[in-house]
Amino acid sequence: MTRRVTRRLVDLLVVFLGVTLIIYLMVFALPGDPIAALGGDRPLAPNVVAELRERYHLDEPVLQQYLRYLGGLLQGDLGTTFQGQSVADRMALRWPVTITLALTAWGIEVLLGVLLGLVAGLRAGAVSDRLVLAGTVVATSIPVFVLAVSAQLWLGVELAWFPVAGTGAGWPTAYLLPAAVIAVFGLASVARLMRGSVVDTLRTDFVRTLRAKGLRERQVVGVHVMRSSAIPVLTYLAIDLGYLLGGTVVVEGVFNLPGVGQLLFQAIRAHEGPTIVGVSTALILVFLLTNLLVDLLASVLDPRIRHE
């Protein structure tokens, strides 16, 4: 177990170095001078541009810039934006928003997805099963942008049940609607995975044995079927949490939630190397860590994996 964790952590380091270098190179390859674009269509004076290029080392070769960035990183310095702010500070301001949003959405996925999947799986072929199936097909086929804007106009503007934008109302009010919107896709996937898994498990020998020895149905389903069906769903949920933390750009934009997705989007538009690398590296670490956690959890849930 310890060896596996160590090996995974070494992998993390290699991935980290590779990813930061690749992203740095890609940012550098973007056409256009970010400093000249700082003032938009009212360009900054040429001497200001020259001074800023020098200040942010944009006049150096890309590898030198990258090494400078890594050097700073070793001293815990994530770099600065072209407006002189600390990238670490900006990320620290925004992570809580994204984490709150992602966890809220994730919670909705877990609760509703598992529940719907269970209901559908236990009554495979019944009306409720078909309804869930149809619902998930519809849900996965609506683009998140359309869903977000429609939900905003209908539930926010027309009915005024939820705030239209911003985090001013606090959790949960401000986060429920955007979280529900991003949860829809994952929720549908979880429900379908869970259904399939439950149907499979119900057909296994051990369930028949459990029933034959007179165990109450509630215990059969609640403990044994659930536990056994949970593994594929769990794997999906873990990957999805990583996705939720990084893939909420659209929803953060529409609902004006100042999270890291928005930060990343703005940084890409401004060609801000340090911010892009900082945010995406953090996202990649989250991804790798959640995957590591799932692997460990899976071996707790399933003895077969543990003893492999």
């Binding site: 973007l30 056409p31 256009g32 001078d33 970010p34 000249a36 674009a37 700082l38 003032g39 938009g40 269509d41 009212r42 360009p43 900054l44 004076a45 040429p46 001497n47 200001v48 001074e51 800023l52 200040r55 407006q83 702010q85 900006r90 301001l93 925004r94 905003q152 106009l153 926010g156 503007v157 005024a160 705030p163 239209v164 934008a165 911003g166 001013g168 953060e252 934009g253 529409v254 609902f255 004006n256 100042p258 928005q262 703005q266 538009r269 401004a270 060609h271």
Partner: protein, 535 residues
């Protein structure tokens, strides 16, 4: 960051009341009644840089927290705000006399020294303040911004304090437009208190100005900036007690939030212009702005060398229809080379060449020998310009019988680099929003090399530059207006690029707002907002 930056005021000023009564705006008198009371919330782009020398998107905030030396109202009239007078005998050395008794929000007096110190600080090259270019006309600016190495001084030789309330400004050459250059949207000209000069970072977190509203608390990214009326303000008292500037990352979301009534004022993003009137009716406010757009032409490409080709392209564009379809009819077809709101602009000078006439256009193009190849229109992507340039390409294709396509760049940075380097072989996006409504600003930006908008219209003729300089030297505003108009006569001969639209800036308001006044820079004047009864 939205590259279509606008000067977004909020403001001060004597002139406001004048502007209001001059317009005789209906409803202003019966609504709200008593001045003072109430607060409004305004959607803004998160500024990051809040202070006058550095901000590029915080015009709203700046015009609330600071007062300019001069103010230009919606009719183009110049009045004095923080200055009592600005005078010169030769248009080169200007004497600025300040009004007595003004204080910064920290209680310290606003003196001639405050202005001189602030301007020197903003112009100091190594600090690379974003707006330092606004001070480039002052003698000694070059000493603070040497081409090589560190500056040997920290002061511009052109600034001298006479007494507590008087200082003189010597310019590099005669410039009769100087009083315009210290008006509301030229934020680099605002004064800063002594404490600011010691610690600009702290000042950015807590800006202290000389204007009608003082910032409450500290600025935190993504958090609303709260301001309240400054009790000791010496100018015209604002009509509201407090303004809250709420940051939105997406202008469309801000628009939707005004619909829901959660915020009082937001500017209308390009994508919402066609529907804004339907959504908001009377609560859509459209202001004439000192912005103008052109269809830039690659004058380095020989296919565009013949003036008749350029005229034909201009005459093949149906500006009226495009304005109706793309901008909900809110933009005005351009008929001159500077926006109509700029004093002395010879409206209609463009004549037949700016009028839609497809037959004449085709005939003129044939006369010039036709056009070889494709007209490749290039514009910055991702900022809501796609509809406009596709419409123009369609009209050129239909009316001139030449293949025409419009291609966006990936983003602003890519576009600006290609344009600056001249790596474009077709018509391109070209626009300028002036920060002070003088023909000088627009003409300089487009037609003087290094005048502000690099390669916007790459037409730089020595005699045009000389004519502009001669107009600059005119001290009398009317004579200057005529002299700039004469520059446009000269430009018309070569017709370097088709003017497209005189721009307007549009805003939508919640039902709480009864009256949204504006000024010559095309933005709402929030300190003179009139709230609806009971709001």
């Amino acid at each position: 960051m939205n590259p279509r930056l606008r000067p977004l005021p909020v403001a001060t000023a004597l002139a406001l009341t004048l502007a209001l009564s001059a317009c005789g705006s209906a409803g202003a008198d019966d609504a709200a009644g008593d001045a003072g009371g109430g607060s409004i919330s305004v959607a803004v782009t998160d500024p990051i840089q809040t202070i006058p020398g550095r901000q590029t998107v915080a015009y709203d905030l700046n015009m609330a927290v600071w007062s300019p030396l001069t103010w230009i109202d919606a009719d183009g009239e110049l009045t004095y705000v923080a200055a009592e007078s600005i005078e010169s005998d030769d248009a080169t050395t200007w004497t600025v006399t300040l009004r007595d008794g003004w204080t910064f929000h920290d209680g310290t007096p606003v003196t001639a020294q405050s202005y001189v110190d602030s301007w020197n600080a903003v112009a100091y090259g190594p600090d690379a303040f974003e707006n330092s270019g606004q001070l480039a006309g002052i003698a000694g600016y070059d000493d603070l911004n040497p081409a090589e190495g560190e500056p040997k001084t920290t002061e511009m030789s052109g600034l001298a304090v006479t007494d507590d309330l008087t200082f003189t400004v010597t310019l590099d050459g005669p410039d009769g437009q100087f009083p315009m250059q210290v008006s509301q949207a030229q934020t680099a000209m605002y004064p800063m208190p002594a404490s600011a000069l010691e610690d600009m970072d702290a000042y950015n977190a807590h800006p202290v100005g000389n204007g009608p509203f003082a910032v409450v608390g500290d600025y935190v990214e993504n958090e609303p900036i709260e301001t309240e009326a400054y009790a000791d303000y010496q100018g015209t008292a604002p009509t509201v007690d407090a303004i809250s500037f709420v940051p939105y990352a997406d202008a469309t979301t801000a628009y939707t939030d005004v619909q829901a009534g959660n915020i009082d004022v937001a500017s209308v993003p390009a994508a919402r212009l066609p529907q804004a009137s339907g959504d908001f009716g009377e609560r859509l406010h459209t202001f004439e702005a000192p912005g103008i757009s052109f269809l830039g032409l690659p004058l380095w490409d020989e296919r565009y060398e013949d003036v008749r080709v350029r005229q034909a392209i201009s005459m093949a564009i149906d500006r009226e229809t495009i304005s109706d379809v793309v901008y909900g009819g809110l933009y005005t077809p351009a008929t001159a080379f500077t926006p109509a709101v700029e004093a002395g602009t010879p409206e209609g000078i463009c004549g037949e060449f700016c009028a839609y006439d497809p037959e004449a256009a085709k005939a003129l193009l044939d006369e010039a020998g036709g056009f070889d190849g494709t007209i490749d229109i290039y514009f910055p992507g991702g900022i809501g310009l796609d509809e406009l340039y596709k419409a123009i390409a369609n009209q050129l294709r239909q009316n001139l019988g030449v293949e025409a396509v419009a291609t966006p760049s990936a983003d602003w940075a890519e576009f600006s680099e290609n344009r600056t380097n001249g790596d474009i072989d077709g018509p391109f996006f070209s626009r300028w929003g002036a920060l002070y409504p003088s023909q000088q600003n627009t003409l300089r930006s487009f037609f003087v090399e290094n005048g502000g908008c690099p390669n916007c219209i790459p037409y730089y003729e020595d005699d045009v530059a000389e004519l502009i300089a001669a107009a600059d030297a005119e001290a009398d505003p009317d004579a200057a207006g005529e002299a700039y108009a004469a520059v446009q006569e000269r430009i018309l001969e070569d017709f370097p690029a088709p003017p497209l639209f005189f721009e307007t800036y549009s805003y939508v308001t919640s039902e709480r707002v009864a009256e949204l006044p504006t000024s010559a820079v095309g933005n709402p004047t929030f300190s003179a907002v009139v709230l609806a009864e009971g709001a």
